[in-house]
Structure formats: C-alpha cells, structure tokens
C-alpha cells in the first residue's frame, strides 16, 4: 500500500510538465517567506522576548493600559 502510494506520487511528480515551473515558484516563495522574511523581519515578538504567558500578559496589559 505504502509502496503504491509512493509510486503514485513519484510518477506524478516525474511526469509533470508545466507543473515543474509551478513547483519551482512554490519553493522559491516558501524560501523567501520562511528563510528570509520570517527569520529576519517577522519574529513573533511576544514569543521571542518573554519566557512565560504570565510575562506576555503583563507586557500586553502594560501596553493597553499605559499607552
């Protein structure tokens, strides 16, 4: 069963014509998104800067009550 499923996908990808270009675009796009944008420009600030949910809550409370 696993072999058949693997074969199905393997053949599908191997015989792709116009789809190859699309896969190329998808991979480049994902690389730009996750390896460049996410890593260098879009950190999850609350996750990065605080260790616990209590600290995060405290920070946000400070922000929304003392703008």
């Amino acid at each position: 069963m696993v072999r058949r499923v693997f074969r199905f996908y393997y053949d599908g990808f191997r015989k792709m014509t116009w789809g190859r270009k699309l896969w190329g675009i998808i991979l480049v796009k994902l690389f730009i998104m996750f390896a460049i944008l996410r890593l260098f420009f879009f950190p999850d600030l609350l996750k990065r800067d605080f260790d616990s949910d209590e600290e995060r809550a405290d920070y946000v409370l400070e922000q929304i009550t003392n703008p």
Partner: protein
Amino acid sequence: MLESIDMSLVDWSRGQFALTAMFHWIFVPLTLGLSFIVAFMHTIYVRTGDEEWKRITKFWMKLFGINFAIGVSTGIILEFEFGTNWSNYSWFVGDIFGAPLAIEGLFAFFMESTFIAIMFFGWNKVSKRFHLTASWLTAFGASLSAIWILVANAWMQHPVGTVFNPDMARNEMINFWDVIFSDMAVNKFLHTITSSFLLASVFVIGISAWFLLRKREVLFARRSTVVAAVFGVIAAIATIITGDTSAKIMAREQPMKFAAMEALYEGQTHAPLVAIGVMRTDTTKRLNPREEFIFKIEIPNALSYMVYLTPNGFIPGITDLVYGNEEQGFMPYEERIERGAVAIQTLKELKKAKERNDEATYSTLREKFNDPVWLDDYYKHFGYGYYKGREVKELIPNVKLSFYSFHVMVILGGHFLIFSIMALWLSLKNRWGNHKWLLWVALITMPMPWIASQAGWVLTELGRQPWVVYELMPTISAVTRLKPATVQLTFWIFLATFTVLFIAEIKIMVTQINKGPGGK
C-alpha cells in the same frame, strides 16, 4: 491617552497588512470558485464518458493549479504580521484566532493538499469515481480552509462567545458554537463563497469568450460557458441575497459602518437609498469636515425598507451615533469614551493590586469583570476609552471610501447578474458567440469581480475603523510599537515580491490559455 503614538507607524502597519491581504485575495476567490466549477465539469465527464469534457476539465484544472500554486501560502504572511506588527492584538484575541487557524492547518489544509495531488496525478491511475471524489474533496477542502479565517474575522467584527480574562489580558472562548455560528460568521462565509463562485464563473466565461473571438476550440468554449453561466446565475442571486442579509446584520451590529457606507449623517425614518452619488468634502458643518453629495440619485424609503422591511424603520445617521439620540437609544460617544476610560482604569488598577499583592482590592476589581451589569455598563465601551483627550471624529470611518466601495460592489454585482443571465440564456439557445460585442463585454467584465470583491473587503475592514476588535480594541492600541522605518522596509519588500509573483501568475496563465485545452 495614546497621544504619543506615531500615526505613521499605524498607517504603515495598516498599509502593509492591507497590501498583503489584498494580494492574497487575488488568488483565494478564484481558487474557491474554480475548484467547484472543475469538480462539476469532472462530474459531467464521469457521467457521460465524453472525452471533450475530459479536455475541458483538464484545461480548467490546469488554470486552477496555476492559481493555487502562486497563491498558496501568501496568507501565511498575514500570520507573520500578527506576531510582529500586531502583537497586542494577537495576544488580546487569544484562542479566537488560534483555535480556528489550528483547525484549518490540521484539517482543511491536509485535506486540500492530499486530494489536490490525486486530482492532478490521478488521471488513469485511480478509478474514475475515486478521482472524481478527490476533485470534489479538493473543492470542499478549499472552502473549509476559508471558513476558519472568516469565522475569526467575523468575531473581530462582532465579538461573541468569549469572555475577557483581565489577568491574562486575553479573550477566552466560552462557547465555540456561538463563535462559529454567529449570524455574522455564517453570513460572511456564505457571502464570500457565493461571490467567489461568481468571480470564477465570470473568469471562465471571459476566457471562453476569448477562444470564441479567435474562433478556436468553439465546442470547448461553448460548453465551458454553459457550465459557468449556470454557476454564475445561481451565485449572483445567492450573492445578492447574502449581501442583503449582511447589510441587515451590519445595520444592527455596526450602525456606524452602515451610516458611513450610505454617507447618512442625519438619522431618519423613510431613509432613502443612494443608488449613485458623487461627494465633496464640506468644512462648514458640524463634524467638520464631512462629506456632502454634489450629485445623487436616491430610491425613496429603500434604506429603511432594506433593514426593517418597513419604511417607518429609523436608520441612525453618523451624528446620531456621535452625539447620541436618546429617543432612539443611542448613547453619545463622549459618554462611551468616559465609560471606556473607567474600564481601562479598572484594568490598570487590577494589575497594580496584583503586583503589590493587595488581595482585597484585587478581589473587588476582579469581581467587576464577572459582573454582567458592570460589563454592560463599562467594559462594553472599553475601546472608546482610548479616545479620551482625542477628537471624537477619529471614531468615524472614512465615509467617502466606505460609500464608494459599497456602491462599486453593488453596481458591479447587478452587472454580473444581468451578464450571467444573458450568457446562460444565449448559451441555451446556442446563440452565445454570435454577437462579437457580447464576447468583448465578457472579456472586459473578467477583471471586474476582483474589483467588486476587493471593494467588499475595503468596506468590511475600513468601514469598521477605528476598531480592530469592534468597540474593544482600536487599531492604535493593537499595533506593536516598532520603528516606522522597519515597517516601511517590509512594505516595499512585499510590494516587490508580490509584483513578481503577480507577473508570474499572469505570464504562466496566459501561456497556458494560449496553448488551449490541447496544449501540454
């Protein structure tokens, strides 16, 4: 409060989010609509065994695949922005966004990506019925993906099924079903899905018209048009019905947005609906500056009738909402600002009491957040508190933009209905394609559903300003205090990336369309 916030940061952050969302929305409606049209064509092939239907299905499946591939994961950037640019907001909304998006990730995306592979690779590899099932499941999977993000958006427009936890500064879900089955969420989903079907129908009819104009693949083009026109007529009617329901819900839950989209300043019974209008900015009246019509065509009583099914229904205007209308039960914004400020102050004191371990004060204040009367009297106005010391007109959305986006959407919606009916009627009489000018109309109409769809979102999102979470969290409080230059940089990076992707989409699509259904 918030006098110190750099408004250019807010504007750039909003601009960046709008750019990303609008770019993402170029692809989503076509994916949603085309997936069902492809599944329907595939069904006709399986039922008839006619090889021409196979060619037709494969061609539109190919265009669906291109659109899906270019568009896929552009929405993920929005989630990046929540965490970086809107961290206060993303924390405040808590599991309202987390739960639906997790379900989307685990269920809908998995379903979509599994069956999409079978749909594309399955020709002559799996049984015809299983292959067809995969096409339908891809279509349903795409719609399921849309449900969750629309539910989250509906909650932002009309927060229900949650309570605010003042210790954690987040909203916590207490009733999942209230969140996903709020009338706002259900109608938003239906309106979005049906308008996406309409968009895809116009797309298919437009491309088919191009083939007919070139006298290429005539049978393919005529058959595609029939299927798309059937979809188009049904979708156009459903879009109008769900749009009407949207307006009724908006009038009840977001009266300011409703008044802004009609540029109605003074409330009235027998309120007319402005069918067409041109505005200018007047700086001489109360609520200066305000928008006045220099030209308009009205339908008498229609606005009152649309909401209440009677011309006697009172529609509040912008001044009724800002300055209050006791007779109609609208509290003035100044009062709401005062009450909101009390709620913010209470939250602040609660935090301080907790920090200094003052149990007695903490318990008293904490109790307020469980008291339905206090919640209704004060917490309900929480977001207004941020406008203490600011100009009250900051609480009014952009009237011109709300008005024009609403009217562009409605006028184009009417055009799509007439256009789809004509396409269907002439197709059934085997006369579609006989009139060259109609084919040109079909070609020119092709990009219009995108304009209508984007205009709809502009009304939805700009019309509810200044709120991110309606009446609870304004945009100025939701934004992360970053340097505006950082946001500007990513804005331009996105613009460049999106432009390249968009050009790639158009180029690959045009190449494949040129090759036609017989091309490799």
